[in-house]
């Protein structure tokens, strides 16, 4: 009994130590190299950036990318599972060396963490089929236009606010929505088009992504503010991976389509 109690208390203390803000700051590049392991945060709820495979291991574009980075640095890779709300605290607390998972750069986030040069883009835009007359997303604001969207996804609110005249059919999930579009149940879908690639490829339809997107997100690696040397090294590594076409290759492998908007990497950063 006493033993059990002691064990329980020990466990509690252990949990408390994990939960309490450790105060540990970010590791420098030297420390990462010396430890022999780089810790990378990946969100497994963003397929194909990160997802669980049948062996319950996290795989995806982000994992392939991080593997490549670890190889270049000559260290082992440790994937740490992160979620949307905790991924930035994980970086600031030094639990991970950098975070991935479609980290869109914006000034708010940049107050808290540093960003590398962009790894990839995401196009929040319009997917339609060949032969439709639309030029920009604003052309969709007509009563004869039917948009197929996924129930509960964020673009639905955007459409309610900005495309009041269009009709909207809400389906349950992305495969169903893309199939409905392929079958001709609607004219277009507004969403982050890159993520639709794997569903698009399942239908023999000539798809068209409008050249004028609603928005483009530039996604980088999130690094702690005081990670001396790490961010600079990552910038060089990302540039190299871009230059060798490695990133495009990995993108095509996981997304089934080319990156819609190239990152336009430059040697100056």
């Amino acid at each position: 009994m006493l033993k059990k109690l002691l064990l329980g208390m020990a466990a509690l203390v252990g949990v408390a130590a994990m939960v309490a803000p450790s105060g540990a700051s970010a590791r420098t590049l030297d420390e990462v190299i010396k430890s022999g392991t780089i810790k990378v945060g990946v969100n497994p709820t963003f397929p194909p950036l990160g997802k669980f495979d049948e062996k319950n291991e996290i795989v995806g574009f982000d994992v392939d990318f991080a593997t490549e980075i670890a190889k270049m640095l000559g260290v082992k890779l440790e994937i740490v599972q992160v979620g949307s709300p905790d991924r930035i605290p994980f970086v600031t607390a030094g639990k991970i060396d950098f975070v991935m998972g479609a980290m869109t750069r914006n000034p708010e986030r940049a107050k808290v963490i540093d960003f590398t040069v962009p790894v990839h883009t995401e196009v929040f835009g319009v997917l339609t089929t060949e032969g439709k007359p639309f030029k920009t997303w604003k052309d969709l604001d007509k009563p004869e236009v039917t948009l197929i969207q996924v129930r509960g996804s964020t673009p639905v609110k955007f459409i309610e606010d900005n495309l009041k005249n269009a009709k909207v059919t809400l389906l349950d999930n992305y495969p169903d929505a893309i199939r409905a579009l392929a079958q001709g149940r609607g004219d277009a879908i507004i969403d982050v088009v890159d993520f639709l690639g794997e569903h698009m490829n399942k239908h023999k339809v000539s798809w068209k992504v409008l050249d004028a997107p609603v928005d483009i997100y530039y996604c980088s690696l999130g690094v702690a503010k005081n990670s001396t040397g790490l961010k600079d090294w990552l910038n060089v590594a990302i540039f190299e991976l871009h230059r060798r076409g490695k990133i495009d290759e990995m993108w095509k492998k996981w997304f089934g389509i080319d990156m819609l908007k190239p990152t336009q990497f430059t040697p100056y950063f």
């Binding site: 197929i148 129930r151 509960g152 996804s153 639905v156 609110k157 059919t169 809400l170 389906l171 349950d172 169903d176 199939r179 409905a180 079958q183 001709g184 149940r185």
Partner: protein, 224 residues
Amino acid sequence: MDYTLQFGQVWPYLPRLLSGAGLALQIAFLSFCGGLLIGTALAAIKAFGPGWARRLINVYVVFFTNTPQLVQIYFLFFALPDAGILLSPYVAVLIGMTLNAGAYLTEIQRAGFESRKQSEMEAAEVLGFSRLQQIRYVILPHVARVLFPPLSNHFIIMTLGTSMAAIFGVEELTGQALNINAQTFRSIEVFSVTALIYVALTLLASVALGLIGKFAFRAKMRLA
């Protein structure tokens, strides 16, 4: 649990929920009427028709009463377009629910047809009634009275069953509830209000059906 109920966030959306409720009732009513027509015709054929027709009807009834309604509508909505038939979400749901109701109502009415009194039928025949006249003037009034309670029950079940239309992009009550839930994340509030609306719908329907039954068919109904 540290959660404060905020029904105030749901009230602005109440008109959307109510319009969804109207649509749910409309779908249930139309498909029930369609199903009733199919059911009456098929039950009559089963009672008086040739053997091959009866067997054909049996296939239809067995198929539709032994597969989930959801799968039937999936078939209409996603499989038929590959054969070149594109039904709108509303029409696909309506046809699916009508065919399903038709099968169940055939079975329910068959029992009614079988419970007809031989002496009444003989009397009708003596008076020179044709088969159709016998069905119209002797069997149906009789069937209506006996079957009114089970038919009403089926209507209530169908009203609740319209909730699956949300999967096919029909913005009935459940569809609207899902949308509002996605915007407010007030799941407890949204779905409890939605459930209450469903309760109100079915109570309303059973009272209305009870009154119709009482005055039109003198059927014994328990008014809810």
